[in-house]
């Protein structure tokens, strides 16, 4: 039995940062106008990209799938509005790699006509959990907190779930989309949480918010009362960044630490972002797949900071325009918050499923980084690291490219929260070094597995050739014998049968892999994700 603490704990380390959320919460949530042209990437999630279902010139309806997922860890993509597909090609997308990705470009016809998605369920609370998961998968829902891990996979942890944690602790400064959602769409949030609880058959549910969002707490409390829901706990954790990290929030609420490299499921818990829960409710109760999301548009660089419901694929420039455009101070553009956000080189990129915030910042908000000095070993970084790491040691070994040592110091437990870099008096861009080291290590590992695979493949091939050669020889020998014995008449018929058999064999071979992958991709193979790094948190 997992005990939910009466008094949530304070996480270790972390920072008390100015919230800067009031700006964007001053005006009520509204919908952004439909853009003329939408750029919808096929990969907006962790996992394999989806495969296109449309061609240039096709007319699509709002909510119609335009790409399907072929793998278990993947998510389909839907047309955010009705219109015509005008291009399928490589476009710049908001991604840390800065690489382009395949996108479907849709010119909106303005009618916004919906397709019948067949996602709606009338009796969702009596439905089979597998059925719910199937629809969540079909709705293309991924973790909206930032990581974008396919939600259906996380609804299927492959072991009994005792506790469902709803992450509503939006700890990063400036971001307020979850708070806006909880205040203005309380019922949808609660419906979503209940559906998730049912899908997971979870015994307990707790919604974790930060104690600096009293309005959201109030709304949720009243909403829960109105719904007659007594079994969903609502707890406010002390406001400190990064209390909204998945592991941190679970620790604050239950006092338990998710094992290193492990999942909440290892402890009988599952954690979903509150926005994801609302998206699930929307899909299953209203039949709308994930084609829009709430985005916080804020910073001194935008005229009217606010929260907007934006269609996925809307170019960022259009979104900013519907907030009164840039101010003269706009100097930087980020997707996400000022601690972990992704820097965007331009605003022609689209809003994607994981775009929780667009931060157009002034130079005062994001000053150029001061020159770095040598590490003076002051250990300020150690004091604030929520993972109890020794950031200065990680830095030392990452810089000297000692990748064994850096792993000995548990580099992979670093959640890249940036607390260490923020307090470092020497202004060392610590997180940059950690990312560098992680990427290098992954590359090395990839090369190693590639080499292993190649060797394996080669061995298999040699073996197969050997086997085939033997088989051929045996067959030849047999044929020689048979030929002598076979009567000459009916020769033609025998040949025909032989050809038919061969054809069937070839066909069988061809279809076989297809069935395998179809099975693997089939919605609900009851197996959990192998190595899920999908923290659905910040």
């Amino acid at each position: 039995m997992i005990e939910i603490l009466e008094q949530p704990r304070q996480i270790f380390g972390g920072l008390r940062l100015a919230a800067n959320k009031a700006q964007s919460l001053r005006t009520p949530l509204r919908s952004a106008p439909l853009p003329e042209r939408l750029i919808v990437p096929l990969s907006q999630h962790i996992g394999e990209p989806a495969e296109t279902l449309v061609q240039v010139g096709d007319k699509v309806l709002k909510g119609q799938p335009i790409a399907r997922s072929l793998n278990y860890i993947s998510a389909p993509v839907h047309a955010p509005t009705s219109g015509t597909v005008t291009d399928i090609g490589e476009y710049a997308v908001p991604h840390p790699s800065g690489l382009k990705a395949t996108c479907v470009v849709i010119h909106a016809d303005g009618a916004d006509r919906s397709a019948d998605t067949g996602l709606k369920m009338d009796d969702v609370f009596c439905a089979d959990p597998a059925d719910i998961r199937q629809r969540v998968r079909e709705a293309g829902i991924v973790g909206l907190g930032g990581a974008g891990f396919p939600t259906a996979v996380k609804l299927n942890p492959g072991r009994p779930v005792e506790l469902l944690v709803i992450n509503a602790a939006e700890c990063e400064p400036y971001i307020s989309c979850d708070e806006a959602l909880m205040c203005e769409r309380t019922a949808e949030v609660i419906d979503g949480v209940r559906i998730m609880r049912h899908a997971l058959q979870a015994q307990q549910v707790v919604i974790g918010v930060e104690d600096n969002m009293p309005r959201a707490v109030d709304c949720l409390r009243r909403g829960l009362e109105a719904a007659g829901e007594r079994d969903i706990r609502l707890l406010a954790v002390p406001t400190v960044y990064p209390a909204g990290g998945e592991k941190q929030l679970i620790y604050a609420l239950t006092g338990k630490e998710i094992p290193s490299q492990g999942l909440p499921a290892d402890l009988g818990m599952v954690c979903h972002n509150v926005g994801t829960a609302a998206a699930v409710a929307r899909a299953l109760l209203q039949g709308e797949p994930l084609i829009s999301r709430i985005v916080t548009i804020t910073g001194a660089g935008v005229s009217q900071p606010c929260n907007l419901e934006v269609r996925i694929g809307t170019p960022i420039a259009d979104v900013i325009a519907s907030c009164g455009g840039y101010t003269e101070q706009a100097a930087h553009l980020l997707m996400g918050g000022p601690m972990m956000g992704i820097p965007l080189p331009n605003d022609r990129m689209p809003v994607i499923k994981t775009s929780n915030c667009l931060l157009a910042a002034s130079v005062e908000e994001i000053p150029p980084p001061p020159a770095a000095l040598p590490c003076i070993r002051c250990a300020r970084c150690t004091e604030v690291c929520p993972a109890y790491l020794l950031p200065q040691q990680l830095f030392w070994y990452a810089r000297s490219r000692d990748f064994d040592k850096v792993q000995d110091y548990n580099l992979f437990d670093c959640i890249e929260c940036g607390c260490c870099a923020r307090v470092c008096p020497s202004h060392i861009p610590l997180v940059q070094y950690y990312r560098f080291a992680k990427t290098e290590i992954w590359d090395l590992e990839r090369q190693r597995t590639k080499a292993d695979l190649a060797r394996q493949r080669h061995e298999f091939r040699v073996e197969r050739l050997e086997r085939e050669k033997k088989a051929l020889e045996e067959r030849r020998a047999a044929a020689k014998k048979g030929l002598a014995a076979r009567p000459k008449s009916g020769d033609a018929e025998a040949k025909k049968a032989e050809i038919a058999a061969a054809l069937a064999r070839v066909k069988g071979k061809k279809t076989q892999p297809a069935t395998v992958s179809a099975m693997r991709g089939s919605a609900d193979s009851e197996q959990g994700p192998g190595s899920d790094t999908g923290s659905d948190s910040r």
Binding site: F12, P173, K247, Y251, E257, P259, S260, A317, Y326, A331, H332, L333, P338, M339, M340, G341, I342, P343, L344, P345, N346, D347, E364, E365, I366, P367, P369, P370, A371, L373, P374, I376, R377, C378, A379, R380, T382, E383, P386, A387, Y388, L389, L390, Q392, Q393, Y409, N410, D413, G418, A421, R422, V423, C424, P425, S426, H427, P429, V431, Q432, R435
Partner: protein, 345 residues
């Protein structure tokens, strides 16, 4: 619209080496003022000579090593080294003593080891130890604290002449102008088999830490606590050091209160508080893990007591700090904290 990109986190930094060092320097003020009050202008001369030498040596070394001079001078680390060294030197020392010490600290102990962040030993303490080994006599030139001895007080002019010219005020011998510090005095007297209560019967020993010295130490303590509140230093090293020093002194004192100094005397005499909050906490040469810092501090405390009690020198902060500097990497290695989500070790 296009934007420049940089890497996360992006929030403006609210910290800097320069600011850190400035805070530490400011926190030294109360203690330095007390020292000046009790020991006169020599303290000011020491401070001036030592810091100017440190800054000059730093600039020179930066030039030689082709490093940006201005930015590095502004980080305040050389200034702080100069200040710390000056505050440990006897106020009537000849002018070349602080100069030599500060020069050695910066040139050898800091830059020859790679400069800021790379020096394994606390530069100021290296400077101090070099001086006390090479010039033991000059290192004892402490005047009697103000208010203790009324027959003659050195004025600004006298001190200036003595420090820079080596000329004594008329009709005075050097001996009559100086006086052993309480720590020094206690050591000698214990050697002569006096008991602690006999030794401390003189006014030199003040209330608990030595006349004047107890105030100086209290002032450093106040500055140190302020630093801790400002998060410029962490609690582990001072707590470890003072805790260990107090505990071991208490044990011996309980066992034999005749032949050992009282725990309070050890806490509030000599350079104890300066050492605990300002010298042992020098980040570069200290241990870095939270637990390690506690041990590191405790080590300094124990060594300080041992050297003061059984060693050849009256005070021992410098030696203890340097010895523990040597142990710091090992301490760090064995005191890595348990990482989040890992089992207890």
């Amino acid at each position: 619209m296009d934007f420049p990109t940089q890497s996360s986190p992006y929030l403006p930094v609210d910290n800097g080496v320069g600011r850190l060092m400035a805070r530490v320097s400011v926190a030294l003020l109360p203690g330095a003022l007390c020292l000046f009050w009790f020991f006169g202008w020599g303290v000011v001369f020491n401070l001036l000579i030592s810091t100017l030498t440190a800054l000059g040596a730093e600039a020179l070394m930066l030039l030689l090593r082709r490093r940006p001079v201005k930015a590095s001078l502004l980080d305040g680390s050389a200034l702080l080294t100069g200040l710390l060294l000056a505050l440990t030197l006897p106020p009537l020392a000849p002018w070349w003593l602080p100069m030599l010490g500060a020069g050695f600290a910066i040139v050898v102990a800091k830059h020859l080891y790679g400069g800021l962040g790379y020096n394994p030993f606390n530069p100021a303490m290296v400077g101090f130890v070099v001086l006390i080994i090479s010039f033991p006599l000059q290192m004892t030139l402490w005047p009697p604290p103000q208010g203790l001895q009324h027959d003659y007080a050195l004025h600004f002019g006298d001190t200036l002449q003595l420090v820079f010219g080596g000329t004594l005020p008329e009709g005075r011998a050097l001996d009559s102008l100086t006086m052993a510090t309480p720590l020094d005095n206690a050591k000698t007297q214990f050697g002569l088999d006096y008991t602690w209560s006999e030794i401390t019967a003189t006014p030199l020993f003040g209330r608990f830490g030595g006349y004047g010295w107890e105030w100086i130490n209290l002032a450093y303590l106040a500055g140190g606590l302020w630093l801790w509140r400002k998060r410029a230093i962490q609690w582990q090293i001072p707590t470890g050091m003072l805790g260990a020093l107090f505990t071991i002194a208490l044990l011996f004192f309980i066992a034999d209160s005749d032949s050992f100094g009282s725990p309070l005397f050890h806490l509030f005499s000599g350079a104890t508080m300066l050492g605990a909050f300002f010298i042992a906490t020098d980040p570069v040469s200290a241990a870095t893990t939270p637990r390690g810092r506690l041990y590191y501090g405790a080590g300094i405390g124990v060594l300080t007591y041992a050297i003061r009690t059984w060693g050849g020198y009256p005070d021992a902060i410098a030696f203890s700090v340097l010895l523990m500097n040597m142990a710091a990497p090992t301490i760090d290695y064995y005191t890595q904290p348990r990482v989040f989500g890992h089992p207890d070790k």
